[in-house]
Symmetry: none
Subunit: 127 residues, 10 copies
């Protein structure tokens, strides 16, 4: 089941602003209604807090293991998206953060969920 | 015939704003003039009301069954679009909601209908 | 010859604003100078007046028959575009309406004519 | 290991503003967590300071050798991006500078890091 | 339900060999296991028998109505494909005939079924 | 109505074999069942007989006028294809000749008809 | 774990030869060396035995459930491919059968495995 | 008018077989029926005779000037193609030679003419 | 330096023939002339010997580590290609095996080297 | 001027047949008629003689320098192609060798020259 304790951080390497984008193309969880697997792509974008205020970055391998912990979890698309946003905001207290989940079709319907934290720059909205 | 009672909701998983997009690529209804089938793609975009004010999301399988209930209904493109918007707004009272129906050609004419509720963000208009 | 009496309407299904787009990919008329056929694509976009003020929509099959009535008419591109706009505005009194005619090449020249009525939203202009 | 002393400059040839973009498609370093190699593409964009104020440009072969000095370094994506930005800003004191690192997928996750210095023009942001 | 009596023919207009291809992009039937609708594209290719031996062609509008008669039928992909091939062979006794049905994804699986009658020319196989 | 007397020829300019291909992208006729217009693309390929045996080529403007003479004719796709093949074979007695008609969708069905005369080279079949 | 008892068949609907192709775009299993998930696409092509000799087809939903039973199995690509081929051959005794598994990159390496049974037609090899 | 005296040759630089391809994208002549300009692309492919037998190549600038000499000539597509083939064969006596002329649409019809001399290798036919 | 002892095998899971393809998109070695890094893509295709004769497959992670052992080796493209072919043939004694190395440009020149062992099927040659 | 003495070889690393392809995208020489620069792409493909018979490969940097020696040479396309083929055949005595030169347009004409030595495999011809 989703295990936030798998997430690890390392100190952000500087104070100047920069933006990190990780795209996980191999996400899978389980539909809580039907028990069938869901497949999707999870995009994370964020600007870490400055190093001088204790800003951190999520470590990539730990992010992969955290994502894998959803593998057998029955959970709605909307809840996946909100939980990942909330877990990562709690972990890192970033300047801003954005989660976009893009799900393969099921029953002829494909879905995209977008959740923001803080002031996401205009050129990242709706991407 | 279109059956709004098929629609089900679940509580939105959070208070922070986020946007949900479902694209149904397998919609079909019947032309009320000719009796021939129409085929189209229905895009739904909305921002649910916050959880703390009772915000809800439409459940995906129920949305599919609701869409399938139009299968043998004689109905104009314009009425399909308005009815789906109105049914979903009544169901969820979202912050805003957008329906775009994109119809395959008939008699050499292809059609797109766009209907909004509330303040749809600028970067979603006309998409 | 162009026959506006072929056009039929039905009451718009609601008061909330929405936008209708019909693209006729099989339009043909005749060049009044040379007698040779012209081939083009006609895009119609409009927002109907609200139902409560008597707003109407053009019925799709009647729109096709109306377009077919130009088949053997000798008429300039510019006149086709203006006449269709004017006939449809007279028919429906929409909030706004836009006609774009896109003509295949003739003598190495291809042409696009755009004609508006009322306040066409910015994101539809020049499309 | 990364060796900033490899970088060389030459005087910018003029005072009028202009923008330089170098894309290194053959960057490789080593993951500090797993010891496995990372592969990426590094884009550098900057506007040199005016010649009359001592503005300089980075010499291209020295830039290649500097990038190659990361080959066997164990270093995070975020640190690579910040270090290259900081080294080049220190070297040239440009008007503005942007580093975008685009990393091939690892464990199903591909990443992009964007770091800016100064007032990067709007049309380069998010590219 | 599938109604072969909807099919009509007209005499083939000549004795010399020629090949007819009709692609129906708007086919829908119902899954006999789940009751959910299936959506597919049906391609028919055939060479009619010569006019002098009573060769016939299937009339296009009747072919459309016949295809529409599957709309609410619960039937497997394989049976749709075999039935259409057999019905059209019985109707026209063509020189050769080929049916290819191409189905949209369901449960993450998309399918293609190919059924031939007679000696289909090599350059049409596997298309 | 189709008027073969519009077709004109000129003597083929030589004895050595060569191949002529004309693609008419602006063909229209009328469906004999529904009275609605059909739109298609007609491809003609042929090798003229040698000049020394009286070989001729169809003149391009006359070919256009001949094609335009189908404009208001109610005629099946299959008959259009066979008639054009037969008219052109009678006109020119070419070494070989091929007609491919490619029709825009009607009622969700699009069609291609291919008719040959003589020994069409293998690399032109099925194109 | 992989469960062949999930597979169900139904009688093939005819004796004439035809070819079935199912592409499962949502396959996942687990690497037996690292414990990390693998993601791939599985293509199945086969010609069923004739109905009169007891020929059967695999039912699509059962095929999906069978594929899902690999979800938490630690198994090599090569073994997945061979096992699916062998299980389906044992289930149906088809005329011929082909399995192609196409795996997303892992550690910078992406893989394709192709396994045949019987006489696969030339135009399906290496696709 | 077409002026074959503009063509110049130089000795082929060797005896071993090789193939030369020149594509002239800027050819224009005049329609002898309407007086309107035609625009096309002329492809020349040939294998020169061996140097030891006096084999020659057409010089590129002279080929351009020769092509330009058609600019104000009223001439059919077929005659252009045959004349260029015949002029170049007479000039060089190559092992084989191929001319392909590809004409922009006129009156909705676009055309391609292909003329060969000698034994054109199979992989160049129909290109 | 290249270390063949890193390679591991596991028994091939069956006797029936099948084909394995691994594409390593992240290969790097060093030019023995200039000391600059080379970057390439290595494709391995092979058919393992049957299980009953002791046939084996190369394990994927060991293949990655073996490829990484070339990272700081000064070696020509041709030698890389031959050595990988020879090492893998010695390791597995496959039915046949093919190595294709595709190198990014250096000094404006990009290169591909193809080396086969045994009887590579025709549809894999030159891919 | 072209300087064959710049070419260097190294012993081919093995006896088994393999194929080498180098594509030089940055070739330039001078037109002997106009004095204007020509720009082209030179593709070299060959199979070296076996190592045991003294087979050699051309070294890549020397190949680049040799290609650069044509920079200020006035020379026809045909002569460039033949000379490079002949120089490389004399240098290496390969099993077979192929040169394809692809020239950017000049005066509206673009050109390709293909020259072979020995028995070039069919799947490389005309590429």
């Amino acid at each position: 089941m989703p295990d936030v304790s798998l997430l690890e951080t390392f100190p952000s390497p500087g104070d100047a602003p920069y933006v990190i984008e990780h795209v996980n193309e191999e996400f899978t969880s389980v539909c809580p209604m039907t028990g069938h697997p869901d497949f999707g792509e999870i995009t994370l974008r964020y600007q870490p807090a400055p190093a001088k205020t204790g800003g951190t970055c999520v470590e990539l391998k730990s992010l992969k293991l955290y994502a894998q912990s959803f593998r057998n979890e029955g959970i709605f698309y909307e809840a996946v998206t909100n939980q990942i946003r909330d877990d990562l905001v709690a972990l890192m207290s970033p300047e801003w953060l954005q989660i976009v989940t893009n799900w393969r079709g099921r029953g002829g319907i494909r879905s995209v969920i977008r959740a923001d934290f803080g002031d996401v720059p205009a050129h990242y909205r709706g991407r």
